[in-house]
């Protein structure tokens, strides 16, 4: 049996290889090494939720009708009997109530979408804080960034499809924002909605974008993202035996085939569990779209909250001055443009360009494959935490009514607090984080130079007390001393030898200023020479520290034993 199977497999392999030369690929891929760390799974969660989205999405397309034709509901859900609604909404009800398991798949799809975006963002944070975006991975950072934007687009287009009250209001907000675009706003709105809002075209158009255009682009970019991961080989955390020129890990086949493959099923399983236990988007409670009603506490999906927070936060009147201007009879809605377009564009633009900004500051052209410990790049870590703070403020402000209700606070107070907080808190977060990083680096230096505290106190004959320190082993040491020691860039003077101003001086000045911002205040790693000196010093100071500690410990034990004897005797 076994030999038969083997020969069949060999025959098939031969057949395929002779037609595709797949042997070379298999040889290349099968034992490719991947480093191991839990934080490398975050991207996988995003990938697997996307697969779950594709699988559940195919199921849903079989029942969803992307049409805005009017129908009167006649299905089994009594509350909606006879209510006029679009076919899109009616088919969503049908999928939920009349298709066995349809509600589950709808909920799986929605939960998977929320997880997809959350995983993308946390994965981005991991890449950011560990410096995995550095050369040669800058382009892959951009690919990932584009995937996040496409993820937002996929989420929003999908959210709007059921044509319920909430999603209809969401679309109306989008329409309002689009109309705020100067000069062409109203025309973009007509182009999108096929005429006056809401019209009858928007659902079919969003449907095409949601099931073809956006997922097609995501699929293509995911392929490119993974191709580049293979090409670059995965980054690794610092440690003994790891360098920018090697990769230490376990082979793709079988270890990661099992671990990563298995992890897909875990992600799918968890999504299925959450979807079966927690209702999401019960559109039958909201009702079909009607432009008149809207209830308090309406919320978009979490990934849109930051834009909503910006819209809520930007005041129509600022210190008595309007933020909507009329210039020459034309209306410029800064109260829409700034929060909905300018701020998000600056925020996302900064994220997209960050790898280049940091490269200007370091001036380092080498390939970086060993990750940074976040503490070792205090300014970057500070920037990251500041951006997270900014984002979280916007998310909280985006649900300020719910927060106000929950904590019995005034809605207006929350908004006013965040209007100031959005300027004050991120810089504060930056400053605190940077100080913490510098503190941790100092702690590392201290550990390297003086070793671990042992808690053993020794008294010398001449009366001096010392605490015995145990030197770090070579692995602990390497982790703490093997980071890049960047110093601020030094640039050539403005005038060359002939006293002529040189080209590019201003650009160099800019890079220098940036570099100073990053590296002016820094904690340098302990050099071998410093370590040598410190050890020498210790040896001089406490020539037999460890021996004496051992001696003291023995004496301690002896005393303990004696005490035990005495104590035990007394009890008897």
């Amino acid at each position: 049996m076994g030999t038969k199977l083997n020969s069949a497999a060999a025959g098939t392999a031969n057949y395929v290889d002779e037609r595709t030369s797949i042997g070379g690929f298999v040889k290349f891929f099968a034992r490719k090494l991947f480093p191991d760390h839990w934080s490398f799974m975050l991207g996988e969660i995003a990938l697997y939720s996307f697969v779950v989205l594709l699988l559940s999405g195919v199921f849903l397309t079989a029942f969803f009708v992307p049409s805005m034709t009017e129908v009167h509901y006649e299905g089994p859900f009594a509350t909606m009997h006879g209510v006029a609604m679009t076919e899109a909404f009616a088919s969503t009800l049908k999928t939920s109530f009349e298709v066995p398991g349809g509600l589950l798949i709808r909920q799986i799809h929605h939960w998977a979408a929320l997880l997809f975006l959350a995983a993308i963002m946390v994965h981005m944070c991991r890449v950011f804080f560990t410096g995995a975006f550095r050369k040669p991975r800058e382009l892959n950072w951009l690919v990932g960034f584009t995937l996040m934007i496409l993820g937002l687009a996929a989420g929003f287009t999908g959210y709007s499809l059921p044509d319920d009250v909430l999603s209809g209001n969401g679309l109306r907000i989008i329409d309002g924002v689009i109309k705020g675009v100067p000069i062409i706003g109203t025309y973009i709105s007509y182009w999108l909605f096929g005429g006056e809002y809401p019209g009858t075209d928007i659902i079919p158009r969003l449907f095409t974008a949601h099931i073809l255009l956006v997922p097609g682009l995501i699929l293509a970019l995911v392929a490119l993202h993974l191709f580049l991961v293979f090409l670059h080989k995965h980054t690794q955390y610092p440690g003994g035996g790891k360098s920018h020129r090697n990769v230490v890990g376990l082979p793709l086949f079988p270890v990661y085939t099992a671990k990563a493959g298995g992890f897909f099923f875990v992600v799918f399983g968890i999504i299925a569990l959450v979807a079966s236990l927690f209702t999401i988007n019960p559109v039958w409670n909201y009702g079909p779209y009607d432009p008149s009603p809207v209830s308090a506490g309406t919320q978009p999906d979490w990934y849109i909250l930051f834009v909503d927070g910006l819209l809520r936060m930007w005041p129509g009147w600022l210190f008595g001055l309007p933020t909507e201007w009329v210039i020459g009879g034309y209306t410029l809605s800064l109260n829409i443009l700034i929060p909905a377009a300018v701020v998000p564009a600056l925020f996302f633009g900064f994220i997209a360009l960050y790898p280049w900004i940091e490269a200007w500051a370091t001036g380092d052209r080498g390939e970086k494959h060993v990750l940074d410990r976040p503490r070792n790049v205090p300014v970057r870590t500070g920037i990251g935490v500041a951006m997270i703070t900014f984002y979280v403020i916007l998310v909280i402000e985006g649900s300020n009514d719910i927060v106000a209700n929950l904590f019995h606070l005034s809605l207006n107070d929350i908004t006013i607090f965040f209007q100031w907080g959005v300027f004050i808190l991120p810089p504060l977060a930056f400053w605190i984080t940077r100080r913490i990083c510098l503190g941790l680096q100092r702690k590392d230096r201290e550990l390297v130079l003086h070793g671990h505290e042992t808690g053993t106190i020794v008294r010398y004959e001449h009366g001096e007390y010392i605490e015995v320190h145990e030197p770090l082993d070579e692995q602990e040491l390497w982790l703490r001393v093997s980071y890049e020691n960047y110093t601020p860039l030094e640039i050539a003077p403005e005038l060359n030898d002939h006293g002529v101003a040189r080209k590019g001086y201003r650009w160099d000045r800019f890079k220098q200023a940036l570099s100073r911002f990053y590296f002016e205040e820094r904690i340098e790693p302990v050099t071998a020479a410093e370590l040598e000196e410190a050890r020498h010093h210790h040896d001089e100071h406490a020539p037999h520290g460890l021996d004496e500690a051992a001696e003291a410990e023995q004496a301690d034990e002896r005393l303990d034993a004696e005490w035990e004897q005495v104590d035990g005797g007394a009890k008897k």
């Binding site: 490719k32 006056e196 432009p291 819209l311 809605s333 020479a529």
Partner: protein, 357 residues
């Protein structure tokens, strides 16, 4: 198995840093299943059990699906319950495979790290030169560069390529906007004599039925006779909120002295920020709150903005009472309702404003 596998060829990769030598890989601790045969067998049984759990989960999901036959599809709770059991079955089916495979990998497959070289991504100088040469040769062959510079060809090709998409894009974009009549925003169903009716049933409202402090969600009479598509589009513009205040509380706006009736005022319900329906009325403060972005308008004072992101007051609908005692509109709104846009004060027919004054 316990000593780190160092192969000398990789040692060269380990550059020193800050004067320290890279110590190489640390001590590898063997797992229990590596050294203890019993532990190895136990792990194997655990993996098999997890795969078994998965199969059980699949059975649960299928059972739940078939049990659905006895369910009333109009009963949301029982629908949810069946879906929950299908989901829990699916969860077990998936998590069993997943945890089994991971446990297998962690206990029984190799966990001793291996080392591989990286290679600089930059192509060799030779390859680069070859690439450039190939491109040069191609340019030469095409005649675009080199001896014959066929600049006419280049120019005409670029022109043709640049304008070719227009053949598809112009009709596409041209048709997607429908009728492109953007001045439709300026008009709603309101006009002289149109009665104010309740949303959603469409019953006209008598002035006598509007007590002080009460709020009516209002649509123009006749709206419900429209077909669904027009109904939604018109309703999106025409919805109005009708409130009766104590006339003593009401600050009459200049030029709008006859727009209200005995303390009854009507304002557009569409927010001047980004167009949500401003549906929350607070009786005590006479404030109207938009639940989307919390723009707050003071109904007693011309619906002016008192808080939030909106800049303009809600447009007011001038009302009167007809001979039968029903509330009617005197005219359409004198400005476009809803969010601001570039030319809202321009173009179209600005005569509405002139008429009403």
């Amino acid at each position: 198995m316990s000593a780190p596998e160092h192969s000398t060829e990789h040692e060269t990769d380990l550059d020193p840093m800050n004067g320290h030598e890279n110590p190489g890989l640390g001590y590898h601790r063997p797992r229990r299943s590596d050294v203890d045969d019993k532990a190895d067998k136990k792990a194997e049984r655990q993996v098999a059990a997890l795969f078994g759990l998965s199969a059980l989960g699949t059975v649960v999901a299928i059972w739940a699906y078939f049990s659905l036959n006895d369910i009333d599809p109009g009963d949301v709770d029982s629908i949810r319950q069946v879906n929950m059991w299908i989901g829990i079955g699916t969860f077990l089916a998936m998590i069993g495979i997943g945890l089994g495979a991971i446990h297998w990998a962690k206990t029984l497959m190799r966990d001793h790290e291996m080392t591989e070289d990286r290679h600089e991504l930059r192509s060799s100088d030779e390859a680069r030169e070859g690439a450039i040469q190939n491109l040069k040769d191609g340019v030469e062959d095409s005649g675009l560069g080199g001896a014959k510079r066929r600049s006419v060809l280049k120019g005409s090709l670029i022109t043709a390529l640049a304008i070719a998409p227009l053949g598809i894009l112009v009709p596409q974009i041209g048709n997607m906007g429908g009728d492109w009549n953007v001045s439709k925003f300026r008009h709603t169903l309101w006009g002289p004599g149109v009665r104010l009716a309740r949303d959603p049933d469409g019953a006209p409202i008598r002035a006598a039925d509007v007590t002080i402090g009460s709020v009516f969600h209002v649509i123009p009479e006749g709206l419900n006779d429209l077909d669904h598509h027009h109904l939604i589009s018109e309703k999106a513009k025409a919805v109005v909120l009708l409130v009766r205040l104590d006339p003593a509380d009401l600050k009459i706006q200049e030029g709008r002295e006859d727009w209200s009736f005995d303390g009854i005022v009507a304002y557009s319900k569409i927010c001047t920020h980004v167009g949500c329906p401003v549906a929350l009325y607070e009786q005590q403060t006479h404030h109207l709150l938009c639940p989307c972005h919390q723009s707050t308008f003071d109904v007693a004072d011309g619906a002016k903005v008192v808080f939030g992101p909106a800049k303009r007051p809600l447009p007011q609908l001038p009302i009167a009472v007809d001979d039968d005692g029903y509330i009617v509109a005197q005219a359409d709104f004198d400005e476009p309702i809803g969010p601001s846009y570039w030319d809202r004060l321009k173009g179209g027919d600005a005569t509405v404003e002139e008429e009403s004054h």
